[in-house]
Symmetry: C2
Subunit: 380 residues, 2 copies
Amino acid sequence: MKQARLFTPGPTAVPPEVLETQSRPLLHHRTPEFKKAHLDVIEGLRYIMQTGNPVAVLTASGSGAMEAAVVNMTRPGEKIIVTELGKFSRRWRELGQAFGVEVVSVSAEWGTAVPPEKVQAAFAEHGDAVALFTTHSETSTGVLQDVESFARIAREHDALIAVDGITSIGAHDVRTDEWGLDALVGGSQKSVMIPPGLGYVALSPAAIAKIKKGRHAVHYFDLLAAVDKAESGDTPYTPAITLFLALQKALQMMRKEGLSNIVARHAANAAAVRAAVRAIGLQLFTRTPSNATTAVVAPDGRASDITRTMENGYGIKIAGGQDHLLGKIFRLGHLGYYTAEDMKTMITALEATLSDLKLADNCGVGVAALQESFAGGVAQ
Amino acid sequence: MKQARLFTPGPTAVPPEVLETQSRPLLHHRTPEFKKAHLDVIEGLRYIMQTGNPVAVLTASGSGAMEAAVVNMTRPGEKIIVTELGKFSRRWRELGQAFGVEVVSVSAEWGTAVPPEKVQAAFAEHGDAVALFTTHSETSTGVLQDVESFARIAREHDALIAVDGITSIGAHDVRTDEWGLDALVGGSQKSVMIPPGLGYVALSPAAIAKIKKGRHAVHYFDLLAAVDKAESGDTPYTPAITLFLALQKALQMMRKEGLSNIVARHAANAAAVRAAVRAIGLQLFTRTPSNATTAVVAPDGRASDITRTMENGYGIKIAGGQDHLLGKIFRLGHLGYYTAEDMKTMITALEATLSDLKLADNCGVGVAALQESFAGGVAQ
């Protein structure tokens, strides 16, 4: 017998209560029950995004929601600034370029965050940039960025800010309204603990005003139509009904746990995993880590052996590196439905794997460090 | 106690075997298991679409897949011909116009099909049209169109043909390769009996060649990237994993039943429902009916009362009319997972409803006509 378990930074584990909703007879979407679920979903998303802004929920992956933000919030030929520090933040540049937007890319080496001063300098040089498209938690490297500062800089330059919060929402304290984020993009297979297939975007009044002044040609990704229909729980096109019902349930669970508790749990799990990794003698890939995933430098460049052994030997699916980091790093996931006990499961499997591969021989020190970190007072 | 049952032309009922797949622990999409499921899905879709062409499966509703067909198969400023005979065929025009394509609309009164001669005449007048975007089964009116003739006409004028087969695939004999359909678009919550959230497009070599020569700006809806990745079971973006697994299961069931049996079952159910409707004394809305749904003229314009009483009194959810047909027609669904016994359930509820509303008082004649039709030799 082998149990397979997901410890990837998306898709993430789905709670049994949420899975149960998926096996019920299908509900039609033009019914009061579905409309109520949709409205519940919007209220729940507002809660975890800390916003009163309208939210559009799209039947598409997070990448589709990012595209929606770009094609709605810009016009062809306009200039935008993007921060580029990994595979997913690079997507903002690719999207801008694909749709004929002039893109100024402010980059940082993968594994590091873009310093706010570099964003400031880009705006100083490009006063005509209409928006900053940036990333809170860069999933490919496990790096967290200072979007609060980015938002202040964008505002000082009369530009909008759109943030990819796909792996930060529900793992970090994302203060959409307080920080002034004009668009915040999220996905479903992340902290909200449901299968992939939904993306969502919260839009500030300033974002909506800009969209109304002109945008790219849109139809399926028409965010104005989506937020307009959503007011009465409706959607412009047939929604992924079962995923909406999953999200309704998951967000009920999140409300019950409480956002500050959820964020503290993520912070505690992430801190404990980092402590364990260091205790084992491995090197963390970043000094500005996200609570979503811990990127670790693979000894002897053997990340692929490590991920394969974790999965085949112990049933623990973690993620490797992407693009030029393939083989060089591996990523331990703690985004979503994970407890301290889950972290012990993951770290003991990592210890056993390193021992199997003769890359370390100190089983137990990682778990001891985990325990100490959890006991040491990082609020759970 | 009340049992709620779906008899809408989408979403349609989901078989228990398919629902069961949705409550399993989530599988990661970058695994051999998921890739196999994806490849199985493509093979199954090819089977029901009768094509050897590559198929892109998109995490989006059928409307998203229609948009993908338009933005990939045309360039801004090119001219296309569309047939417009209801709410969903109108979408081809709306999509073309949204993306800056010149659209020649060949329309027919809602409830009727566009005659091939009108398409022929449009091509004669607009020799520069690069493609015909048309609809096999117009879901809003229950009308079936002669896309085989349309395809011949388009080919004679060196134009491509893209067909919305969302409610015809798996309900009719759709001979993609034999008829020469360059793009065939389908959706998930239809004959393939799974919840909404996936759309798919089969592309002919000629369609792919045209796309390679130039298209609109695309990213999420990049069909070339999708078919390219699909060759190895991969996707450009995170797919709706659970819906792919549902589709894998549903298509296995369809292969087991056999396409000709499936189409015959749909034809028999549709014919029996039409016979029942006539026997009750109601008027069919179209003379060229689809096997997906039977549109019926509501006596005294009381369609809303009928749909409401069917649902609230008997738990049977059918569809009303859309746009200017709201209140005027209702639509009885028989697309997907429905047997002769289900038709009896639907028709007895309709008879009871008409009696409740004093719109008819001949309970039993509809069911008798159903029985006679099923016994009368339309192959099951």
